[in-house]
């Protein structure tokens, strides 16, 4: 957000009803001077954009949740008995598999956070390292990002197995309204997680392509926050499917 720097008021002329507004301050001053990109401002901007994106994804899942709750409570007219019946149906969820997936995703969130802190540290030390003669020792850090990608793939594979297991148990997308929502919500989450995987690969490639550490930091930072959001979102979806059956 903008910072506001009050300055000395200037004698105002004419009809001003209020104290004169300061001549400067407010607005973005990240580009001040125009001497190269300001990474702090870029990071802030990227995070702001991410907050907007997260708000959107929240709206998608809020609307799916409201559909879930409304559809759950709806009675259906049954022609044979000439009465209204509840047709929500049951789904026999593979609890153990889903719990393992949840654990994998939570661990990946931790490794992602370690990757984020790692690159933030590197970015903070970059100016020191650029001083000739200063060495910070071994520059190779633990590949947290790579591990996060593997865990992300593991989660998706686990979800795939869960869907296969549901199919094996006789539950398909159109079996009953409950199963429709199980597949809808888990797959909608998976699609958003794939978006996170793409962002992870992008952040990882920034590392491989030897982009400036500050650029990498921004990529890793916003990917990390999105990844954490995906973990929270999964817990929410899991809780919804588990508790509001």
């Amino acid at each position: 957000m903008a910072t506001y720097t009050p300055a000395t008021p200037i004698d105002h002329v004419g009809h001003g009803h209020k104290p004169p507004a300061p001549p400067a301050g407010g607005g973005d001053d990240g580009r001040g001077g125009g001497d190269g990109p300001n990474y702090g401002a870029r990071l802030r901007r990227a995070r702001l954009g991410l907050i907007c994106a997260i708000a959107t994804v929240c709206m998608v899942f809020i609307s799916l949740t409201s559909a879930y709750i409304v559809r759950q409570g709806l009675p259906t007219f049954d022609g044979s008995s000439n009465s209204y019946v509840r047709d929500w149906g049951q789904v026999d969820l593979p609890w153990l598999l889903l719990a393992i997936n949840t654990a994998v995703l939570l661990v990946s969130s931790v490794t992602m956070e370690l990757a984020r802190r790692n690159v933030a540290q590197q970015a903070a030390l970059a100016p020191v390292k650029s001083i000739p003669g200063i060495s910070l020792g071994d520059e190779r850090s633990f590949p947290w990002l790579g591990i996060t990608i593997l865990l992300g793939i593991g989660f998706l594979a686990g979800q795939w197995l869960a869907w296969a297991e549901l199919h094996a148990r006789g539950f398909f997308l159109d079996t009953n309204p409950n199963s429709s929502f199980v597949f809808l919500l888990t797959r909608a989450h998976a699609v958003h997680l794939v978006g996170g995987m793409i962002a992870l690969l992008w952040a990882g490639s920034a590392s491989l392509l030897h982009r400036p550490v500050e650029s990498r930091r921004i990529a890793v930072d916003i990917t990390a926050w999105y990844w954490h959001f995906m973990a929270v979102l999964w817990i929410y979806v899991f809780a919804l499917l588990g508790l509001a059956r």
Binding site: M1, A2, Y4, P9, I10, D11, H12, V13, G14, H15, G16, H17, K18, P19, A21, P23, A24, G25, G26, G27, D28, D29, G30, R31, G32, G34, G36, P37, N38, A41, R42, R44, R45, L48, G49, C52, A55, T56, C58, M59, V60, I62, S63, L64, S66, A67, V70, R71, L74, T76, F77, G79, D87, L173, D174, P177, S180, L184, A188, I218
Partner: protein, 576 residues
């Protein structure tokens, strides 16, 4: 990651990077604008076909031949959809918002230029997909722009409900994604890229309107996206979210238990904010233009900002007023009714302030000003029927009559279009470096204003007299016989009004190349876009970072050398 600073180091030279896949918000704004311009002509053409069909149902028309009932519904659907999404959402926000927002806040570009380009091209894909619906087997869908199931959810329910309807939903879903990317960019840009001194309360009201519109879009389009995905699943994957046990042409469908009302709730939760997405930028432009051409500060700047914020806020709580016919609980209907009428308050504040801005002003009746006044006129006459329809007892009577199309065409259709016209005439000199022809601008204005009222005012009375909406043919209906002359009048008025739009298009393109050269600030306006060159250079301010010292509407400041003080001039100490 491309940022304004890196992107604008060098202007691209190649044709494709400069004009097609450009990252420059100004080029992207024009791309949106011209996309909307083609869309509005498609939409108008469809409406003229409908109007002619209503009067002469057996007439053989160009391109379509004799219109069958289902074709009439397809025309109606595509008219509504194209106009709402690809004109009213695209031109004011994507077009002018993209072009002017960064300049008005003193930024070199949008916050995420690559995302900006992607959002335009995604919109373009959505536009192509929806146009494709005309050309597939069965033609365009029949379910109206609101896409109510079960009609929209069952492939066999009508000729356009096969592939045509799938393309329609897909197009809307793609459009949602594009709008979300755009909204994200607008919000971040407004919050983070303002020049030094450009506090939130020094933003031009246009920027406020684009900003609030973007927030509405960010929260609304996600809901439509998920509603659309559920609809696609019902249509193609055998689910029953929206479809109850239903028999189509004697065949019982496999669906059961779904609720068509679920769609209505989700759709209108998006649909009502969408109305404000269409009209809010028009309000911003009207404020900007009325202040500039009245040579007075906007009356009640902060009240204008808070009114827009509260319109946006209430906009999310009134969707149920589109569903009074659905048999909702009277208690719900009462709540929705009350909240809807609350919107009358901020709307009245805005109208009062527009009139207060003009009151005792030294008004210059240039074409942008005429359109801004026209906007206020339409906003009032279209808005006043809102509180009628907000009352369930009246709405149940009027809902399926021509009264409702008359209401929403005036307020969100033509008023928003007048906002686009005001913006076009106002910013044309800045965008193209030349002036539009004033005389033809005025001719265009007076025909369009008179034509608009001639079309939509009688439609209210037709609705009160019981003329139904959506019927492809009513000339054979006994009790509507007496309305045929009125409808004939409306059709002629529509043809004349549409014909008058060619004056605008010819003026637009002629002036682009042959109009007199514009100075940097031909209207003697105060906001930042008028401080830079005409047309603005690639980085908007030619390497200079503007510093803002004044509010956006400092006209007639006593003691000042001129009757206006630019935002970048030394501080005057006036309000804001």
């Amino acid at each position: 990651m491309a940022t304004p600073a890196t992107v604008h180091a060098h202007a691209p030279q190649g044709f494709i990077r400069k004009y097609i896949f450009s990252l420059d918000h100004k080029v992207i704004g024009l791309q949106y604008y011209f996309l909307a311009l083609t869309a509005v002509f498609v939409g108008m053409f469809l409406s003229i076909l409908m109007r002619i069909h209503m009067i002469w149902p057996t007439a053989v028309l160009p391109l379509v031949g004799e219109i069958k009932p289902e074709q009439y519904l397809a025309l109606m659907t595509m008219h509504g959809t194209i106009m709402v999404f690809f004109v009213l959402t695209t031109a004011p926000q994507g077009g002018f918002g993209n072009y002017m927002l960064p300049i008005q806040i003193g930024a070199p570009d949008m916050a995420f230029p690559v995302l900006n380009m992607l959002s335009f091209w995604t919109t373009f894909v959505a536009y192509m997909v929806i146009l494709a619906a005309f050309f597939v087997v069965g033609g365009a869908p029949l379910h109206g722009w609101t896409g109510y199931p079960p009609l929209s959810a069952i492939q066999s329910s009508g000729p356009g409900e096969g592939l045509g309807a799938d393309l329609w939903i897909t197009s809307i879903a793609i459009f949602c994604v594009a709008s979300l990317m755009g909204a994200l960019n607008f919000i971040t840009t407004t919050l983070d890229l303002r020049a030094k001194g450009m506090t939130m309360m020094r933003l031009p009201l246009t920027v406020w309107s684009w900003f609030i519109t973007a927030i509405l879009g960010l929260l609304a389009f996600g809901v439509l996206l998920s509603a659309g995905i559920l609809l696609l699943m019902d249509r193609n994957l055998g689910t029953s979210f929206y479809v109850p046990l239903v028999v189509v042409n004697g065949v019982q469908m496999a669906h059961k238990g779904g609720s068509p009302l679920l769609w209505q709730h989700l759709f209108w939760f998006f649909g009502h904010p969408e109305v404000y997405i269409a009209i809010l930028p028009g309000m911003g432009v009207a404020s900007q233009v009325l202040s500039t051409f009245s040579r007075k500060p906007i009356f009640g700047y902060k009240a204008m900002v808070y009114a827009m914020l509260s319109i946006g806020f209430f906009g999310f709580m009134v969707w149920g007023h589109h569903m009074f016919m659905s048999g909702m609980s009277p208690y719900s209907a009462f709540a929705f009714s009350l909240l809807t009428m609350c919107i009358g308050v901020p709307s009245a504040i805005k109208t009062f302030n527009w009139l207060g801005t003009m009151y005792k002003g030294r008004i210059r009746f240039s074409t942008p000003m005429l359109y801004a006044i026209g906007f206020v006129s339409l906003f009032v006459s279209g808005g006043l029927s809102g509180p009628f329809l907000a009352q369930p007892v009246l709405d149940i009577q009027l809902h399926d009559t021509a009264f409702v199309p008359a209401h929403f065409h005036l307020i969100m259709g033509v008023a928003a279009i007048f906002g686009i016209f005001a913006a076009t005439y106002y910013w044309f000199p800045k965008m193209f470096g030349r002036m539009m022809n004033e005389t033809w601008g005025r001719v265009h204005f007076f025909i369009t204003l008179a034509g608009t009222y001639a079309i939509f005012m009688p439609m209210h009375y037709a609705g009160l007299a019981g003329q139904t909406r959506r019927y492809s043919q009513f000339t054979e209906v006994a009790y509507l016989q007496k309305l045929i002359p009125l409808n004939t009048f409306i059709t002629y008025a529509a043809i004349i009004t549409v014909a008058a739009q060619f004056i605008f298009v010819i003026n637009l393109f002629w002036s682009m190349f042959k109009g007199p050269k514009a100075s940097d600030n031909p209207w003697e306006a105060t906001t930042l876009e008028w401080t830079t060159a005409t047309p603005p250079p690639h980085d908007n301010f030619g390497g200079v970072t503007p510093v803002v010292n004044n509010g956006p509407y400092e006209y007639g400041v006593p003691g000042a050398a001129k009757d206006y003080v630019m935002q970048t001039d030394p501080a005057t100490g006036a309000a804001h």
